[in-house]
């Protein structure tokens, strides 16, 4: 009878972390864990009714594409997604760490409120250590050489195996991203200095080695462009006029009132007349290129082309900003009055470039422009879209390194080092901490152990091929051993260098299996070794992204552990 159904009562479930939920959580964790790192396995996302198939191992695509059933998982995924939207990197890190922390805590059988307090304290301890001067798992970004920046970019590109790049291609792409990034940094430093823009132009079908960086912008080729126009222009500088108003000849809105037009009047003709007047001005003032964000009336277009002015229309709002930035033009919004000559911008040159089957118009700016285009090539659509994400992430990571000029050691070394640091800090002289947290020594140790084991298991999950993970007993770094190694050999014979590449094996080092109880160690604080040698193959992670991911993961895990009820509105 009535369409208004009474609201159904909500579903209220007690104790959200039941065994069943933990099971779901561990499935979720296993999926993410197997994607983690450069050797991670790929996931194919599809629905059984056809549609797009995505191959990926990145958290952004995975969490976006897979609908999650349980509210707790949704909560975790939402906070990871929000982190990724801010920092682009370390999404999987946050998600896996959060999951592992929750699962480990469930096994502890302690009151969640005290565990939460301890985790909170450990988190602030870790953040304080990572931010402190004597932190030995971070390195300063050296802007004098490209090595650290290249390492940062390479780590991001390499951690996305779904791009299907060979080692050499990966190196090449990383260097291209770095090159593009460096182009966006302005040469002059002033109060108004701001970073330029890197525009990614994806080209499908070519091999990754065709990727190139061009300064300036690439725009779609205007149809029916006589090549003679370009040839005629390419001798000197080119005046550019940029319009952001529609030049299609529409009548502007009459607001609330009405406009009555007698039958002799043709508004389109009247406006076209005005447009042509502007066109004449363009021609007389030697404008070589007219760019319009919206549509240009075909009559005007034809007129301008006859007068050897190149017209690019339907540019779209996204490219307007870099175009204005690059040419120094003012975007004009009025064609009623004459365009002031201060609004024109300058271009150095114009040419046609072709990538594969695609022909693009290349707008070449002056020398100190901060706008560049990264023409990204890869074999097929899926790998290209994954590569695009990887490059965007790498560029974001490089940008972040400008705000905080640090990088954290990658390859699991930061995690194991941090874990051993926390363990060593939390065994002695902790009476004050205990009284602050109001918990017993045993409780505290249990929680600390669970926190550190979560960190270590995160480091271990970089290894996917059944190999063993070791930790050295002087620096607390992670070392990998291949699974095929003979059983009766010494660790010393099996390892080469640690996960991040900072340390090579030498006689004084000793190892233990990661994950077992290993003798407590106070990680060495001297990083001098690194200052001297700058090996090429470092693995470095973004400092701001990882710190935020760590905080987000612990906060979300705390939140989930603190939940007493789930109320679901089922209407």
């Amino acid at each position: 009878m009535s369409r208004l159904a009474p609201k159904k009562p909500s579903l209220c479930s007690d104790g959200p972390l039941t065994d069943e939920v933990c099971q779901t959580l561990s499935v979720f964790r296993e999926i993410l864990k197997s994607c983690y790192g450069p050797c991670g396995r790929l996931k194919l996302i599809h629905n059984n009714r056809g549609g797009r198939v995505q191959t990926t191992s990145s958290s952004a695509v995975l969490l976006n594409g897979v609908p999650l059933s349980h509210p707790v998982l949704k909560l975790l995924a939402a906070s990871v997604m929000n982190h990724v939207s801010r920092f682009s990197d370390c999404g999987l890190f946050a998600a896996i760490f959060g999951c592992t922390l929750i699962e480990n805590t469930q096994r502890l059988n302690m009151a969640s409120s005290s565990v939460i307090k301890i985790y909170r304290q450990l988190l602030s301890l870790s953040i304080a250590y990572l931010n402190s001067e004597d932190c030995s798992c971070r390195v300063k970004v050296d802007f004098k050489s490209s090595q650290t920046l290249l390492a940062l970019a390479r780590t991001v590109i390499a951690s996305k195996p779904a791009c299907m790049l060979t080692f050499k291609e990966g190196e090449y792409i990383s260097s291209m991203v770095l090159k593009a990034f460096l182009r966006t940094v302005p040469c002059t430093v002033g109060p108004n200095a701001c970073l330029g823009k890197m525009v990614i132009v994806p080209i499908e079908g070519n091999i990754a080695q065709d990727t190139a960086v061009l300064s300036g912008l690439l725009v779609e080729m205007p149809e029916a462009l006589p090549l003679s126009n370009i040839k005629r222009l390419s001798s000197s500088c080119i005046n550019v006029a940029v319009f952001n108003v529609s030049m299609s000849g529409d009548l502007s809105d009459a607001a609330d009132g009405t406009v009555e037009i007698s039958c002799t009047v043709s508004p389109e003709a009247a406006i076209l007349e005005q447009l042509l007047r502007v066109g004449k001005q363009m021609v007389s003032e030697r404008v070589g290129l007219l760019v319009c964000q919206k549509v240009v009336h075909p009559v005007l277009k034809q007129y301008l082309q006859e007068q050897h002015v190149i017209v690019v229309d339907r540019l779209g709002a996204a490219l307007m900003e870099p175009l204005v930035q690059m040419t120094g033009a003012q975007s004009v919004a009025s064609y009623q009055s004459a365009v002031p000559s201060s609004c024109y911008g300058l271009l150095k040159d114009l040419c046609v470039v072709s990538f594969g089957s695609k022909e693009l118009l290349h707008l070449i700016p002056g020398e100190d422009s901060t706008v560049c285009s990264l023409v990204l090539c890869n074999r097929n659509e899926t790998t290209l879209s994954e590569l695009k994400i990887a490059c965007q992430t790498a560029e974001h990571v490089l940008r972040l390194s400008l705000t905080r000029p640090f990088a954290l050691l990658g390859g699991g070394c930061t995690e194991t080092h941090l874990a051993s640091y926390i363990r060593s800090k939390c065994t002695n002289r902790i009476e004050d901490v205990l009284s602050d947290l109001a918990c017993s020594y045993t409780e505290y140790q249990l929680a600390v152990d669970s926190f550190c084991r979560s960190l270590e298991s995160l480091a271990r999950s970089l290894e996917h091929d059944g190999g063993e993970s070791l930790v050295d007993l002087s620096h607390g770094h992670q070392w990998f051993v291949q699974s095929s190694s003979p059983l009766n050999s010494h660790w010393k014979d099996l390892v080469n260098s640690c996960g991040c590449g900072l340390f090579k094996k030498h006689q004084s080092l000793d190892w233990a299996i990661l994950g077992d109880r290993y003798p407590s160690l106070t990680p060495g604080t001297d990083c001098s070794q690194f200052e001297e040698t700058t090996p090429n193959l470092f693995v470095l992670d973004s400092f701001p992204a990882k710190i935020n991911a760590l905080q987000i993961a612990v906060e979300t895990a705390n939140l989930i552990l603190d939940l007493k009820y789930i109320i679901q509105d089922v209407n």
Partner: protein, 728 residues
């Protein structure tokens, strides 16, 4: 009428206890949070009792009624939803036990129906007693006993709040609203925010402004840890600059609510175009007009244009050429807040702009874009305007559901403060209003008398002595001088020491409603004057009253927290009763304005169940000395019920041991030293606690008086009867 269910107290208890079991999980220092997924799929994390109860969307009409009562209470005080349920279920349980005991005694009726009838009679009786309990017992106990234990938030003569006290009361509030680990950080931020916004004067104004405009004064940012939350100076408008031109230093701001570009034709008019040239020239005229306006603004040093509507491309283009930044599509509320803070009125039509005077322009200290999470917003620094120095809060969280929790906790915290800063009037809980001043006085006199009848009586000389001392020290809070009565006719009725005479009604009758004077002062001279009896007393007092009112005004501003005692002399004009000069000197934290203040503004108690323990203690004491059995039973009923709140606070791992330890310690403290020692540092509002208890008592009464539920089937009702009353 298809389904008629008789409703007995068992059902009520069942419902209340179900709610209790949900709510108590989030209650107290170890309480957790609730994850709520909305029908839209949004996730919300909350610890707020009201939100939890509302999100349950309950089915049972009684449960819905309870939730409505809770919501009504929370909308007033902004706090106490969880305690409400705890108190309610404890009271209902107590009621059931009482009724069971009452009916078991008299076993005249053996059949079920008869017993049920008897039970309902008994119940009716007890609830009627509960009705009078508030006015007759609770208010007196609050006024006489609990007021000695409160401390005031204010220090100094200007009613300022110290940072420490503010922190303690805020932290106590945040503990109940957000996760434990963050409450210290966020409560400190809330205090900082309050102090940053408050200027020298107009604290109430500031709070009102914060409460009313908190939506515009905060920005929620997702994707960052909560620790990144901060306070920014100035105002963040939640829109980005459409045109941004860098400026340094001070600037002038113009606010418009209409498009600057004149339309081709206005509303209600018709533009008749006869030739192409007309169209072209009108278009050109419009463009010229915009250019003219923007040039005018540039000449007047306007650097920023705020608009509530979208401006045309032409306007933006000319703004850019003139170096004017533009923020458009600002929400009306936000813009009106800006105008209020800047002290200007927005301009509407483009014609007004050319006649702009300097007073129509706002002055800003700076304007720059600020990047908060994914969005870039306009950040504008405003001049400080007397009662509010503009600041805004940035609240970060990993997910929107969590920032929402922080936002509502912040907002609620300020609402709670607003409530704490207001006194509770006696009339509020008692009578709807006292329009007649005589009535008010009579009511007051009644209060005075009841007090007198309950009070320790001291010899007149000693009163004067102590008063002399105390008025010198401005501190009348010590128990012996706290309340005194020097009434000659009552002295004879009383014994020395702590005697409690019951039946206030008798006293009421002895006192005619004709009260002519009340004097608020501590001057002992007046007290001496009061002592003398006779016809000239009236005139004397009238004169003194005038003096005193002047003095009282001075003192009101002079005396701060430490005691502006007042003496209220109620003098009966009646010739026979002329001798009965009633005096009541009440020492309470602070009284400046009204006589009928029950709880002073800013009264706070330590957290951790202090209020409940104290109330329990005094109710028990009262019940012991009470002669009326009804009062005895209601007192002990409420006394036991209030303990349910601390029981849940100290309930760790569902054992009662901790609670019992605390309870024993507190009881010993009260009995031996008269107050609770080493209570927690955090503070909570006394008036909130009091109003909570009053609301719960009212709710219980309305619940218990229902005897059956009538379910109706809408379909049959519509076809057959049409207009039956809808009773649910």
């Amino acid at each position: 009428m298809n389904h008629v269910h008789s409703l007995d107290i068992g059902t009520l208890i069942q419902i209340a206890e179900t709610l209790e079991s949900i709510v108590c999980q989030c209650f107290g220092p170890n309480g957790g949070q609730v994850l709520f997924t909305k029908a839209t799929g949004d996730i919300l994390v909350t610890r707020d009792g009201q939100r939890v109860l509302n999100s349950l969307l309950l089915d049972h009409p009684i449960a819905r009624m309870i939730v409505d009562c809770v919501s009504a209470h929370c909308s007033v005080t902004g706090d106490g939803a969880k305690s409400f349920i705890l108190l309610l279920s404890a009271l209902l349980r107590g009621l059931q036990a009482l009724v069971d005991k009452g009916t078991a005694g008299q076993s005249t009726c053996h059949n079920f129906l008869g017993r049920a009838k008897q039970r309902s009679q008994e119940m009716k009786h007890v609830t009627d007693c509960l009705l009078t309990f508030q006015t007759q017992v609770l208010d007196q106990i609050i006024r006489r006993h609990l007021n000695q234990h409160v401390t005031s938030l204010f220090t100094g003569d200007k009613m300022t709040v110290t940072n420490d006290k503010m922190r303690s009361i805020m932290e106590a509030y945040f503990c109940g609203k957000i996760g434990n680990v963050h409450c210290k950080f966020l409560s400190e931020m809330a205090c900082d925010y309050f102090f940053k916004c408050t200027c020298d004067q107009g604290r109430g104004q500031t709070l009102n402004l914060i409460c009313r405009h908190f939506i515009d004064l905060h920005t929620a940012v997702k994707g960052f840890p909560i620790g990144s939350s901060r306070i920014l100076e100035g105002l963040v408008l939640h829109r980005d600059f459409t045109v941004y031109c860098q400026t340094d230093g001070q600037l002038k701001v113009l606010v418009v609510t209409e498009p600057i570009q004149p339309p081709l034709s206005d509303a209600g008019t018709t533009l008749l175009l006869r030739s192409n040239f007309q169209l072209q020239s009108s278009n050109i005229w419009i463009a010229k007009r915009v250019e003219e306006i923007m040039n005018f603004l540039q000449q007047n040093q306007v650097k920023l244009l705020l608009s509530s509507v979208k401006q045309s491309d032409v306007v933006l283009y000319h703004a850019k050429l003139c170096g004017i930044s533009v923020v458009q599509c600002i929400e009306a509320d936000e813009l009106s807040l800006f105008c209020y803070l800047a002290g200007i009125a927005p301009l509407s039509s483009p014609w007004d702009i050319l006649h702009t005077r300097d007073t129509d322009l706002a002055n800003a200290v700076f304007c720059k874009p600020v990047l908060l999470g994914p969005h870039r917003y306009a950040h504008i620094g405003l001049m400080n305007r007397g009662d509010f120095s503009p600041h805004c809060v940035i609240l970060c969280g990993p997910i929107p559901g969590l920032t929402e929790q922080c936002v509502s906790a912040f907002h609620g915290g300020f609402k709670m403060l607003q409530h704490v800063f207001e006194p509770v009037d006696l009339s509020q809980g008692q009578e709807p209003c006292n329009t007649n001043p005589n009535n008010a006085n009579a009511d007051e006199a009644h209060q005075v008398l009841t007090h007198c009848s309950l009070e320790t009586v001291v010899q007149e000389d000693s009163i004067i002595d102590t008063l002399n001392k105390t008025s010198d020290r401005h501190d009348i809070r010590c128990p012996t001088t706290e309340e005194m009565c020097a009434s000659s006719n009552l002295v004879s009725d009383k014994e020395q020491g702590e005697v409690i005479t019951e039946d206030p009604r008798a006293n009421q009758s002895s006192l005619a409603a004709d009260v002519i004077l009340d004097i608020r002062n501590t001057q002992t001279g007046i007290l001496a004057g009061c002592k003398t009896t006779g016809d000239n007393l009236d005139e004397q007092l009238k004169q003194m009253n005038m003096n005193c009112e002047n003095k009282a005004r001075e003192m009101g501003s002079m005396l701060g927290q430490h005691g502006c005692a007042f003496s209220s002399c109620a003098i009966q004009k009646d010739s026979t009763a002329a001798k009965n000069t009633q005096r009541d000197i009440r020492g309470s934290a602070l009284t400046q304005e009204h006589v009928d203040v029950l709880i002073e503004a800013g009264s706070v108690l330590p957290v951790g169940g202090s209020f409940e323990f104290l109330l329990h203690h005094y109710l028990r004491l009262y019940a012991q000395h009470s002669l009326q059995p009804e009062v005895k039973t209601t007192c002990s009923l409420v006394a036991d019920a209030v303990l349910n709140v601390p029981r849940n606070i100290y309930n760790t791992k569902s054992t009662n041991r901790h609670f019992l330890q605390v309870y024993t310690k507190v009881r010993n403290d009260i009995q031996s030293k008269g107050c609770i020692i080493d209570c927690p540092q955090l503070l909570e509002s006394m008036s909130c606690k009091y109003q909570l208890l009053v609301s719960v008592l009212q709710c219980v009464r309305s619940l218990v008086t229902i005897d059956s539920l009538i379910g109706i089937d809408r379909k049959t009702q519509n076809t057959t009867e049409g207009e039956t009353e809808d009773v649910e």
